[in-house]
Amino acid sequence: MTLEIVKPGLATTVQDLGRPGYFHLGIPEGGAMDRLALRAANMLVGNEDGAACLEAVFMGPEVKFGADMTVAVTGAELPVLLDGMPRNTWSSISVKAGQVLSFGFLKEGARIYIAVSGGIDTPPALGSRSTYAIGALGGFEGRPVAAGDVIPLGRGAGMPEGRIVPDALRRRPAKPAALRVLPGLYWHRLTEKSQAAFFEDDWTVAPEADRMGYRFRGGQAMEFVDRDQPFGAGSDPSNIVDGCYSYGSIQVPGGLEPIVLHRDAVSGGGYFTLGAVISADMDLIGQLQPNTPVKFMRVDMDQALAARKARKETIEQIRQALS
C-alpha cells in the first residue's frame, strides 16, 4: 500500500500527534498544527485518532493512490478533486488504485489534512512519524515530501463513502480571529500601559508564520519596566537569562513583534515571553493566513480550563457524529 506524490504543494509533511518527551533536548513535540482537524480526518477514514496524515499548507499536493482505500480531507476549505471531479471536504471519499487527488485554490484557513485508511507508515523516529524538518527527523526522510516520493501506507479496513463531519463541529477562525491568552511567564516585565495595549491593539499575522511560530505585527512597540538587566541576560530589556519556552508562549524580541511559538518551536532561548495562548486555541493558529486580523483576548486560568474542556467535547461530538 502506497501513495505517490505527483506534485508536492508548498510544504507538505507527514504529521501525527507529535513526539512528547524530548523537549529537554531541544526536540519539539511537533505534530499537526491543527490537531482537531487531524483527528477528524483520521476518524473519517476509520483510523486511530493519532495516525499519521499529510499536512499541507496554503496549497494542496497532487497524490496518486497505489491501492483502493478511503481518504478524507479536513482543516482549511478548498476544492477537493478526485480525477478532476469535485468531492467534499470533511467527508469520507472512496478511491480506487490509480486515481489522483488534487486541489483547487485555498478559500479559507491555511492547512489541510489528508488522511488515508491505514495511515501513513513511514518509520517512527523517537516514537512519532511527525516531520521535524529542521532536525531532519521523522516523516518521509526527515523532510517535506517531493514529487516522485512513494509514501508507504498501513493497512486499514476503510470506511463507506459519504460519512461527514457536521458543519457546526468544524472550527473556523472568527474575523478578526480571537486568540485567548493567559498572561504569565515574564508578564511583569511590561509596563501597565503595554500590558493593556497588547490586548487593545489590532494585530495581523505577519508573513513569517510557520510551524515554528506565528509572528504578529501592527500593534505598538512594547515598553518595559525599568530595571538593571540581570547578569547573563544581555542588555536589551526584552532579554532574559535563557530559559525554556512553553508551547504557545508569546515572545517579543526587542518589544516589537510578538511571536507565538508553535509545534516545531525552539525549546528555549533568551527573549522574554509575556504569557501563552491557551491550549484550546493552538489549533486555530495553524489555520491563520498571513495578513489575517487578530485580537488577543485576556483570560484567566478558569476560562482557559473551560475552553480546554469545550474543545475536548467537540472532539467527542465529532466521534459520536461519525459512529
Binding site: L25, P230, G232, G248, V266, A304
Partner: protein
Amino acid sequence: MKTRYTYGGDEHVYVEIDDEMSLDAFFIALSLSKLVREANIPGVTEICPANASFEVRFDPDVIAPDEMMARIRELEGAAKAQEKRLDTRIIEIPVFYEDPWTHETLMRFRERHQDPSGTDLDYAARINGYDDAAAFIEAHHSQPWFVSMVGFVSGLPFLYQLVERQKQLEVPKYLRPRTDTPKLTVGYGGCFSCIYSVRGAGGYQMFGITPMPIFDPEQKISYLKDFMVFFRPGDIVKWKPIDRAEYDAITAQVEAGSYVPKIAEVAFDLDAFNKDMTGFNAKLMEALNDA
C-alpha cells in the same frame, strides 16, 4: 536568589530560581527538576531544566494547575539542601573562529544587528573592553565552559564560562533574530556561548564554527551511534582554536567515521570550584590533556 513560580498557559509551570545567572541557581534548578521527576507526579509530561530556571509540562485534565505548582513548591527546600556536585566529562571542541560561513551570514543580517558597521566579533570585543577580536577570542577559549542547558533546537548546548563573574563575557542577542544560522556555528548571547546543532533561526552573535557534529538523527556519526544528541547538562567544554586546514581535516575525519572527540571523565564540585577557580580549571584541563 528569589524563586518565582508562574504559569505558561494552562499546560506549564515555569520556575525561575533566579533572574540572574549563577552556578548556584543552575544547581538548584537541576536538583529541583530531578526531584520533580523522581516524585512521579501524575499528569507530568515533560520536565525541562534550563540555566537558572526550569519548566514542567503537565496535562491539566489529570492534575489541576494550582496543585501542580504546589507539588513543585513542596520540593524546593530539599532541592536547595542537595549537594552541588556532578560526575561529568570534559570535552575538547575545535573552533574555527572568524570562518567564512558565519561571516557571510552575519553580513546578510547586518540590519538586524546593534552595530551594522562591524562584525559580531568586533562588536563583542569592543563592548567587553578588549582591544581587538583576537584578544576577545583568547578570552573565549582560554578557560573551560559548563553546559548549563540543552535545548533551543536539537541538542544545542548553552555554555557558561567557568571564571569569576567580572571576567565573564556578555553580549546582547541580535535586535531581531536571524532566519538563518549555519549549522555548527559557535554563538554568544547574554553570558552564554552555544553551538547551533542544525541550520536555522538564531539570535546569538556569531563567532566561529566547529567541524564536530553534535546532533545526528541518522546516528551514523561514530560517537553519536548510541544517541542522536551529544551534550547533557553538566558537561564541560574546552574550545580549541583551529585554522581552515585543521577544520577541513577534521571534517574529512568526521565524514570517514574516524573522528574521535577528546574526552576525559571528571568530577565537578561547585564549592571546590568557588574556592579556587584557577586551580580547579587547571586540574580539569590537565585531565583533558591526559585523555
